[in-house]
Amino acid sequence: MTIRQKEILLKASVFIAASLPLALLLSQVFEVGSMRLGPNPVEDIQDATGIWGIRLLAVTLSITPLSWVTGPLIIRVRRMLGLFAFTYCSLHFLNYLLLDQTLNLAEIFEDILERPFITIGFAALLTMLPLAITSTNNWRRKLGRRWNTLHKLMYLICILGCWHFYWQVKKDLTEPLIYCAIIGLLLTARIIRKRSQNAKAAARKIATETTDSRSTSEC
């Protein structure tokens, strides 16, 4: 299999896998076969889109560390996963806006301003917006190095997402804590790698400097 074929296969499977939760949710909404939402359908949609939003954020965040082990090919699905995460989070917000609050603006503003977990969730979604917009090749070229800096916002988004989940839970914190741990681990992995890279770079620099000074003294 050529690299190109591998890439297409990988992208197609990731696309299908990431679409499945949405497909399942839509089948429940439109009552396909015996699939149904429960007695509180609005809450069901809110929970499903929310949990898949945070799951896909975590998966997106795991691609870079994974590529250290598997090689760079999987980087090719990172953008798609990020956009899926954005899609689920947007549906989560739209469901809140349209079905839960039925566009009652007074309530929505009050929620966003006064309820910390909603404030944080909203902030996370807003932060995702520029990343989704600049996810195209065009934007990437246009922004150059700044694109990388901008997309570091992903770390902030993941932290906000966990926080939003943690604060929303009534009592049992196990599930949000699991996501906090996963995302914490993925961020720590980056810090450790960055440090060891810095250390190596510093070591290299010292090495070259010593050789330089030696060569000067020899002169």
Binding site: G38, P39, N40, V42, T102, R115, P116, W167, K170, K171
Partner: protein, 316 residues
Amino acid sequence: MLIKKPENIRPSEITSRDNYLNRRNFVNMTAMAGTSLALGSGCSEAGNEAKVQTSIAPKSYPGMDVNSYEDITSYNNFYEFGLDKSDPAKYSKNFNPQPWSVTIDGEAEITGTFDYEDIIGPHTIEERIYRFRCVEAWSMVVPWNGIPMGDLLKRFKPTSKAKYVAFETVYRPSEMPGQKAGVLDFPYIEGLTIEEAMHPLTLMVTGLYGTDLPNQNGAPLRLMVPWKYGFKSIKSIVRISFTEKQPRTSWSDTAPSEYGFYANVNPEVNHPRWSQARERRIGAGLFGEKVPTLMFNGYAEEVASLYSGLDLRRYY
């Protein structure tokens, strides 16, 4: 009159689904007409001759749209059986609500442990269609069957020291898988002031829709205080204690800043993390708009006098 309870017969075994649905219409109609009725089909088939008195629908609440049996029995908060709303229906099948006994203790002349029959026997079971408002801002309308709690409590002759009534749920980790998880300190405990417990709206529930109380709804005996958030209405009661001091309660023990002793439904006092101004009606479907929450869940006319002079913002 003595009400014989069918033992170990599940409602689903004695009543067809059609009958459930017919009964629902039946109950709806009678609720509207406000006439008294004797329950038909399901119960008499099982030899149960329970007489059901006039339904009490609160006057202050418009459009009492009774929820389906399915909604009421598949969307439950009963942490003893798990945290998801669907868990209680799934994981309560091995729970045995019969035989059952309740211990009465504390500041009363008559105390001891009494069988289910002794507790319920002397009373006439009534049907009460009540609004049910969860602290999580959703609500239902439920046709309960039960006996006025006050009538029951008076039989044990509480003394003048009895200022509060404490309730306790059964502790049976072998039959209640959620009790092993330790999310709350089990057994679940709740309490009311004696005035609240004696109020004519306060019910000791024995069933719903004219059938035995399903396990997931708190079989065989549960409290129903319709003007308070749902968590006050403790399920599967095994102990009732008359106390002089305000009893501890499970949720205010776990999160005192979020859940108080009184827990009266109050649209003006928000939960620290969400609004209590409106509620989602279960059964309203995907496009059902939230409706405004009413003071004391619509029972202000009946119960507001219990709290005259009490700062409801402080005593939430």
